[in-house]
Symmetry: D2
Subunit: 381 residues, 4 copies
């Protein structure tokens, strides 16, 4: 089977999840291309070498430019913080590499547009790794929507809530620093729910009214716990939105005790409704108004049957999947797309669509009124 | 509208629930007969008078025989402990009164049979007040079973769990005294789940293997907390059973912390399954194997729609009912039966069927092997 | 025991719920004043007479002014549509009657202010019947908040979702007519969640950004199904809000299939969180960050124990209450307040506070930017 | 790091799960010994070779005796059907290999005893792979029990329900053939719940009363769908049991529509209760009677925090694990035990304890009365 060499830039939390995906994909989703985990790249050689050993990469580099210059690399997988996504991805595309980039695609809309332009120009495969699109329950939900099972869409609502910074003594890590992270809960959590809204409904949000709040404005520095530093990103973001006539409502926060990684979705349409909870990601709840009234109810589908997306590759019915499995699905389907030259989503255009919404959210939070989402086409034609 | 005078014998917890039913029935289920809460009977005049005022009864008696002798009384409603059910009910029937009797019908099977014989002989209407049959979700479940929605029945299982006597300092109240209560969790909770099994499946349990345990063998006397008295009833009862080929499994206990009044049911058949939890009595879960596989799931039906049993008399959809409502349904339908002369269930035969199972449970717990349930017909023909 | 005569103006859905409360209160909450259901008032004598018989009122009137003029009436209970609340309530207050008024207090903020001024001037007891404040789980939640169990408040969020008008053939009933109902989902459902936010947090919302939508702009007339009439109220209302630093988010809709009467609440604070679902109104979920980490979880409290608010008057633990019980609590506590001359909440000031928020919501939906809630004090001093 | 060569005998469902564990363990649980997936063994070379490639094994054998004879193999991992466990495990032990054996340890109690005797004699490490012991929630539950959080144990109950053979056209696969599988639901599902009872409570079941049923007595042969063959194992097993004073109740079935891989547990003790559902394996519910009454509730602990067992090796809080992760835990801890020479559980003694209960269940089902579980010591001293 033909092989393709993969290079991963970065090695923190997302590096662990992506590495697992590259290791597991060939065993559960044997496909046309065999990925080879060739090189991992991190600024600190020692840490990168430790990560390579632990995560299963053959070689170590400390300069991402060298990695991209290597002719043996076919795929570049970017898992660094958002401030370096654009530079790396554009260089990789220009070098003819296929590119996977963690979400959000970029810290700013102009960067996202440039990245999209670069991959289009280069003709390479590109993917923004919104992993939740490939939770089996989310793909099943998408199928239901495509089949018209929800009818005309009235409402979309999503909350993505965590609680890891409720303690004011929790340090001012890089994710709380705007120069690196771009934004806080908005880009980290809000990006996911905006993308899932676009994915499931097939619509694009077109205007928003938003509120960004930072409840704990300063925190101790990670390595100097006695020195406080300002938190320059949002702790929580709330926004109302429209996508045509559909209303949408979003709330993301890192200050919600008891909500660990809780992405809650609900969609209401004229024929039925859907609900989803990421902390119970193997389940999808479906209310079908077309059933006889006396038996209508919230149908809790355990999405682990052979008829469900991705499942035949894993375990028998009722044997649940975990957080990391959708990354495996993403990598496996990306390899297929590389092999076939076919389309794959979410691509950089999807990523930029998401950035356009985040951009409007930030403008609305500043202006205090509704703001239109800038159409992508304008900049990318 | 014609009136009928009701007399209630007893006035404790069940007296409160039955009184509420008599008061509420005419307002929510106006029917052919108007019940008049004529007389309440209790041994202690003062307490009975207080109950009469609070619960809405016109008169007070202290001797149930006098009540039954009154020609103006049409219905006798018995809510005393089990040891007096037989004597009162038989006398009431012989006096030509229609009789409602709290469950279990009797403390022993022979008593239950005598009661059944008496009401049959007298030609009066009779009801064993297994209130859970008239939870809307239970009647809906029965409809589903009658419609064949579960197919061939494989398994029935039920747990009825409470925790009010977990504390060993909880006193030795009358419910823990065999001479009054007949049995413990078995007659109090087990009777309910046996009856609901008979009701929903339409089958009769025919043999059992059982275990009765008393974990806390003595407790302080209610009025002399320093004196201990033996607990002479079971704290918990577990039994396996058959009804033809169907298996059944029951566990009832008063020693299950966190289970307050938790009756859990599940029925598995070739075409689907049902689940129910009394602490969420407005919900019924239905798994329908005849649906397309990708949408099969546990369908949580909120049984509060106009298409559901009893609901049009109450509130709009989603406005839930509580514990006491099924008593209202029972009383309302009993009044209809009295008026029409029609059948009403659960009657004393249903009550005696339940006693026959409890009797087999006690025999099996003593013998250590499976025991057959004695057919009712033998004694009652 | 002293009696007080009650008159109820109106007799539809809320009339049924209030009547039940007046009937039940003396039996479960015997207090210092015995309410007598003296007179019911409705424009159509025949319908009012039918209601009187069914709901338990002694007399019938067709002109509410006559009712208010009767010297024997002590309490006037208003359950008419919102457009007549102000006129009736003000007249009743001026006649020296104690007044209960269904929520929302009024269709407009100026009306609400006039009503408040009138009851203050008259020195009578007054209550806006936001029934959900007296769901036991809500009062327990309030106790938790008063005890500081949630710490500093970060987020409040609420959805109140129903689905009774999803079908476009559902007729244009009075609740869909602005001249009668004032607004749609906003006043009907939004009023509840705004009030519950005020009640639980003890804060007042001070600014909002809102969206009102009418998805189905015309519907058949109830009595002429072939003639369409415009829907002049909102089908759904979404709004972001602030109460000081706390964020709040609200969504109410009548177009959410599967949500029957589903009021979902969550509050996040620095020490913990609370969740509530009206369709499971006997349960309150509490996450306590002060517990040891390994045992922290969402604690589902079945609010039916003797230690919980209102419960000792009803049934033993685990025997759940239904939709109508909080009305009984409200009426019972109103009678106490009338007897003692003490304060009772939610009063007309609480009702006007809610109207002030609804008013800001409507202004924001029109203007497209954040609007301040007008302080009540300004108008009511 | 020192390496140890592993050989796996068998390659079906369990082979896939075990292989994944061997691949993943070094990445998430780097330990003192590096496992090398040396050889896979299956009777059919082609199928075994395909499995080797897919699952990541270096070499292929078709004769397990040859594998065991290889001096380079340090660990033999047995995932064949139960009828060959004893022969392979005993030979492996005698050859000085450390042995992992899938559950149930053996098809019969005498076999299990011989296996235990063999590993003890050989002085090798041995493990019966009851994977559910290493679900983080189960280890947390064990910790709670060891800490005395449940107090005196009253009741244990477990159901393990599946539905994969509800369709009578489902073929007579090897799992339905007693000569290969030993028993049906009993050995497949019942073994798990018996072991988890032993594990969590630290007690051993000592007597049982049981019922075994085969509802669908014949099925088409897998490769000759027109020919029917008898089902020689149980479709469902129900049994009551005692472990000292504690009662236990078990029901396992493959005929429970909607229950896919649903292992439900509940333990009630004097200080609290625990609940678990394998289809939501990241959650553990704990009711703590020692909390103040007004806040007592079922505490749903999402067992994904850094303070929870195994979790720090995986993902941040709220990022759930799946079915296969406990196998990784088992393999990782087995490697540690091999390296240290320390004890590891569940070992073959635990496996034989389980077989002793299954044996008593079969005897009781045949005799119709309670049967004592044979003490293991008798045979193994």
């Amino acid at each position: 089977m033909p092989e393709i060499n993969v290079a991963m830039i970065g090695y923190a939390f997302m590096g662990k999840a992506h590495s697992n995906a590259w290791r597991q994909a060939p065993h559960f989703f044997p496909g046309p291309l065999q990925p080879r985990m060739k090189v991992i790249c991190g600024r600190h050689r020692e840490a990168a070498a430790e990560a390579a050993a632990r995560l299963g990469w053959e070689e170590v580099e400390t300069d991402w430019r060298k990695v991209i210059a290597r002719p043996d690399i076919g795929i570049v997988d970017i898992v660094t913080p958002g401030d370096s996504h654009a530079e790396i991805a554009i260089a990789a595309a220009q070098a003819g590499k296929h590119v996977i980039c963690e979400k959000p695609l970029a810290n700013t809309l102009p960067e996202a547009r440039s990245m999209l332009a670069a991959v289009k120009m280069a003709g390479v495969r590109h993917m923004t790794l919104f992993n939740y699109r490939r939770v089996p329950a989310m793909r099943l939900a998408r199928q239901f929507l495509e089949q018209g099972r929800l009818g005309r869409l009235f409402h979309f609502r999503a909350q993505y809530l965590q609680d890891w910074i409720v303690d004011p003594e929790f340090p001012r890590v890089w994710r709380l620093d705007k120069t690196i992270a771009g934004s806080g809960a908005l880009g980290d959590l809000g990006a996911h729910v905006v993308d899932i809204c676009h994915y499931l409904t097939g619509l694009r949000l077109d205007k928003v009214s938003a509120l960004l709040v930072t409840m704990i404005p300063e925190r101790p520095l990670p390595d100097q716990p006695r020195r406080m530093a300002p938190v320059t990103v949002d702790d929580a973001a709330l926004f109302l939105a429209r996508a045509g006539e559909m209303t949408a409502q979003f709330e993301v926060s890192r200050l919600a005790p008891g909500r660990k990684n809780c992405l809650l979705l609900e969609i209401n349409g004229s024929r039925g409704s859907l609900r989803f909870n990421l902390e119970r990601l193997n389940e999808l709840e479906f209310y079908d108004r077309t059933q006889p009234e006396a038996v209508q109810g919230w149908n809790n589908i355990l999405v682990t049957d052979a008829r469900h997306p991705f499942i035949p590759h894993w375990w028998p019915a009722g044997h649940i999947l975990g957080y990391e499995h959708p990354f495996v699905h993403a990598v496996a389907e990306f390899l297929e797309a590389v092999s076939s030259g076919g389309e794959i989503h979410p691509d950089f255009a999807d990523g930029a669509d998401c950035n356009a919404v985040l951009d409007a959210v930030e403008r609305s939070a500043a202006s205090g009124h509704w703001e239109n989402v800038q159409p992508l086409a304008a900049a990318c034609s």
